[in-house]
Symmetry: none
Subunit: 240 residues, 2 copies
Amino acid sequence: MHPILLVDDDVELCQLLSEFLELEGFDVSAVHDGLAALELLNRRRFSIVILDVMMPRLNGFDTLRRLREQYNTPVLMMSARGEEVDRIVGLEIGADDYLPKPCSPRELIARIRAMIRRIDMEHAGAGSSPTSNANPQRLQFQDLTLDLSALNVRCNEQPLDLTQTELRILQCLIEAFPAFVTREELMRKVLNRSLGPFDRSLDMHLSNLRRKLGPYANGTPRLKTLRGSGYLLLTPGETS
Amino acid sequence: MHPILLVDDDVELCQLLSEFLELEGFDVSAVHDGLAALELLNRRRFSIVILDVMMPRLNGFDTLRRLREQYNTPVLMMSARGEEVDRIVGLEIGADDYLPKPCSPRELIARIRAMIRRIDMEHAGAGSSPTSNANPQRLQFQDLTLDLSALNVRCNEQPLDLTQTELRILQCLIEAFPAFVTREELMRKVLNRSLGPFDRSLDMHLSNLRRKLGPYANGTPRLKTLRGSGYLLLTPGETS
DNA sequence: AGGGTGTGTAAAGATTCTGTAAAGGCCAAC
DNA sequence: GTTGGCCTTTACAGAATCTTTACACACCCT
């Protein structure tokens, strides 16, 4: 379930909130000052951080600033000082939401859920893991199965002998489907550099990939080139 | 800059907010009821939607529900009815934030910025796909469906083989509807240059686009030229 | 009606982008 | 050192797209 980091110096309140959040199915860790929060973030990933403003050692704003230098975990700030300026400052320096302190637990839950839903949306299907990109070991697309841990690909159980580069290109295309992928993007993600003016390397890899994959059983080509834009996988039904 | 859709039946308030948001560098479109909002979303992409709850024709909650069936655009709800239950319901059915109505414009801006920042983060960061299946970039106009993430256009499910230039022209026209678009504007947005004295390139692209689209089923032409002014999409009912 | 201007479009030309073969280079394994 | 696999570069060809040219027509004004 979603791990939540609760940061508030009020131990009693933490206790209360933790219980409540756990009832709602979250996995709550609580710490009571900013430094402890940063330290814990170093070691674990959280789906969301709930951050009080007034705390000893390192206050909420400074904690948030340091946190944002390194992570983009969603942060919900909470404070008894619910003044407008505080809210604005909090939001400006990187909070995703800001609630005045005596707040309804139900509303808190609703806002947490909304934030998590947003993250999941953006990761579209990448599963419900904390912000980081959790790669599945297996990818499938039509009759292709690619096993990322073993670096091999099969097409209808027939093993295909792809190089690592070709495999990664294929992976990018599959992950993007049904959207297209830019050449520039492929260069960055696969070859790890930018596309120079006379660099035909990518074309070669694509050419080789196409040859090794071959067309679908019904003759449809596997991938379509969008001249000037990029490449796109096709499904066997498409007219090409 | 970021396009924002403002949905509120209070025309005066819309006016005020629009000006304010535009000062902050946003590109604001305002409509005054839910159905109009859904209709406009069909034709244009927005970075964020600001949605009032109490509206004629279709209230904010229902609008949000219908919106969420199709899009995952961030939504900030706003309501004079700032009761806790309302906030919770709004957040539950898909709002990303919820503000009570007499709200500080500065806070509104801060929250909008926070939401946009979140989206940008997710897009730039570990996200494995640029605008993938999570967010089907679809525009619709009559029987035309144009899918920006796969760069294809369908007319009654029939795929049309358009050039990117042609597609972008079409996109401009759809987004502008029911207003017309200047030649100069098309040149800038599509061909990325200014219209020279002997440049007939745009005419050719328009000609090709017209030919590929063909007329409506009932014979009405798809687009009308306003001599000396520009071009305009037609609906099948219009006399042309 | 007639000239001027703006627009539609066919055809030809120019340009840019892409596919692929072949050759060269790099590196790790043997 | 040699071999083999893989990545990159070179070179060329072909294709898709964009632009220009040319001419016809429609519209507006006088």
